[in-house]
């Protein structure tokens, strides 16, 4: 993995992925005690950064292989990204999703033309289901994070952060990234290593699913005790990836860990101050910036709001419990 691969992905994504804005609010600066810049990936196509990696991976496939169709497993954001990219290329997509994934994510994935296969997280093995279908139908698996062209696609978000921050005169900052398997985190870190070497990437995770923070601390891949639960479905993964972890180990850390309540408080702030809809997992980086400032250095912090695909009742509850006014 290197910067050339990310730049090549950026070329392929041009005119397809959105350049999402880097936003700010004086009210957030005040809470955080420093300048906060927010990369609004919830405004990406399909409502999360995942479209970048999905489109990157599909566009990198040899045409004949792509035409045979693709398969992916995902709790919902990668699902929608792959579904849209497949629809744009006119190829079929099968998506394996947990039956307890947010309704909006399942509905959207279907509406984008994908065939959704639901499985039970507790009793079924998604890898086994996926492998069987892939083999039966000759589909190519698009992994959610541990795949070079996916990491390269997510890295294009880092190219944008470097350019947009530089335009604001910002070349040094901690960059907090919502982190599941580490695709976005490692992609952004690689991009910034080359384009904004004064920035340091910090993964943010929810309590009880802080495998990356613990792995970075111990120096080896650590697993989460639980495989599901909490509010932050988008970034609940069992462990960092075999490709993403060495990149994060070299370039990122230490990890930041927030509670579900803090994620919801950040959702309420994104609503009131940025006019953005953030999903819980997409709000953990903002939560870290706002409520764990003592663990952050420097005058400026940059955070991703990595997704906004939240079911209405979950959003309403966050605003009711943690909103102001």
């Amino acid at each position: 993995m290197d910067i050339q691969r990310i730049q090549a992905a950026a070329e392929r994504l041009k005119g397809h992925a959105r350049v999402t804005p880097l936003l700010s609010s004086p009210f957030l600066d005040e809470i955080a005690g420093r300048r906060v810049l927010v990369k609004a990936e919830c405004l990406q196509h399909t409502g999360s950064f995942k479209y970048r990696g999905a489109r990157s991976a599909l566009s990198a496939l040899p045409e004949a292989q792509r035409m045979s169709g693709v398969i992916a497993y995902s709790s919902g954001n990668h699902a929608q990204g792959v579904a849209l990219a497949a629809q744009q290329f006119g190829v079929s997509a099968v998506i394996i999703m947990p039956s307890d994934a947010p309704k909006m994510k399942i509905d959207n994935t279907r509406a984008l033309g994908a065939e959704v296969v639901l499985y039970d997280r507790a009793t079924e093995d998604r890898d086994a289901i996926g492998s069987r279908i892939a083999e039966d139908r000759g589909l190519t698996l698009i992994k959610p994070f541990d795949e070079p062209e996916v990491i390269a696609g997510q890295g294009t978000c880092g190219l944008e952060i470097a350019a947009q921050a530089a335009e604001m005169g910002v070349t040094e900052a901690e960059v907090i990234v919502c982190c599941g398997g580490g695709g976005l985190t490692s992609g952004i870190a690689l991009a910034l290593e080359s384009k904004a070497p004064g920035m340091r990437v910090r993964p943010a995770e929810p309590e009880n699913f802080d495998d990356v923070a613990r792995s970075l601390a111990s120096g080896r891949i650590e697993r989460n005790a639980a495989s599901a639960g909490g509010l932050c479905d988008a970034i609940v993964t069992p462990q960092p990836g075999n490709l993403t972890f060495p990149i994060m180990q070299r370039l990122c850390g230490p990890g930041l860990v927030v509670t579900d309540d803090e994620a919801q408080m950040a959702m309420a702030q994104a609503f009131a101050r940025l006019k953005l809809v953030a999903e819980p997992g997409g709000a953990v980086a903002l939560a870290a910036a706002l409520y764990h400032g003592d663990q952050i250095e420097g005058d400026t912090v940059i955070v991703t709001i990595s997704g906004g695909n939240v079911d209405r009742p979950v959003f309403l509850r966050a605003l009711e419990q943690f909103g102001e006014g």
Copy 2:
């Protein structure tokens, strides 16, 4: 008023106003029956397009005059725009606001350093209050819409629409603009007349406050019967402006009128499909595109979401009543 004035405003706003994104969703296209492009001005500084006009007007003042301070009357979005621009220039601002303005708007205006003077819409005359304070303190009035440099500032939104749409290959479209006094509508219309002559601007208003639609139909300035009420506080004005009306008469129409329920339905769609927070008055153009398609021509419609400063209970109610999922 001409395009040069808008371009001069754009120069002055460079590096200050945000270039807001032009967004879309296949789900909105499906409801509307045509392609829908959404100019997300709720992402502008202070949460509405009003910052453009305010910064334009303040930056156009002779320095000595600006240093003496400014005054404005506003239900809240112009208030915040003027407050922020004044704060940036280090000058004092007095804002006359109705006591029933949304709490968020009053709080934010104060937090941005302005002195807020509340008045009772039913019993007091804001012009009289404003004139007295302006004279006593030597402040310059920044009118909310009927002022050339304000119109020019709002027109920069039209320059962006023309450029962003052209990049997507769109040169012909109806452009629906949330319309109060007509500052944004006339500014965008002037910009598009020059930069995208294949586009036509349509003002959108809430039921019972459709003074612009009626004025365009009758050919003379018509007033609203009520001076307050309904959900769309941001765009409830008594009548079109003396400067804005002739521009709209020459370039815009016919007007589109939506109900408060339709505005709330559009808020729920902006939440689910765009991950944006729209205030009721900021959602009327999207509502027109989604629910009055029979009055719209062509394959593509462009709409402004002109603001997102909505009190939490109002937003919650819209989502509870009109959201899906």
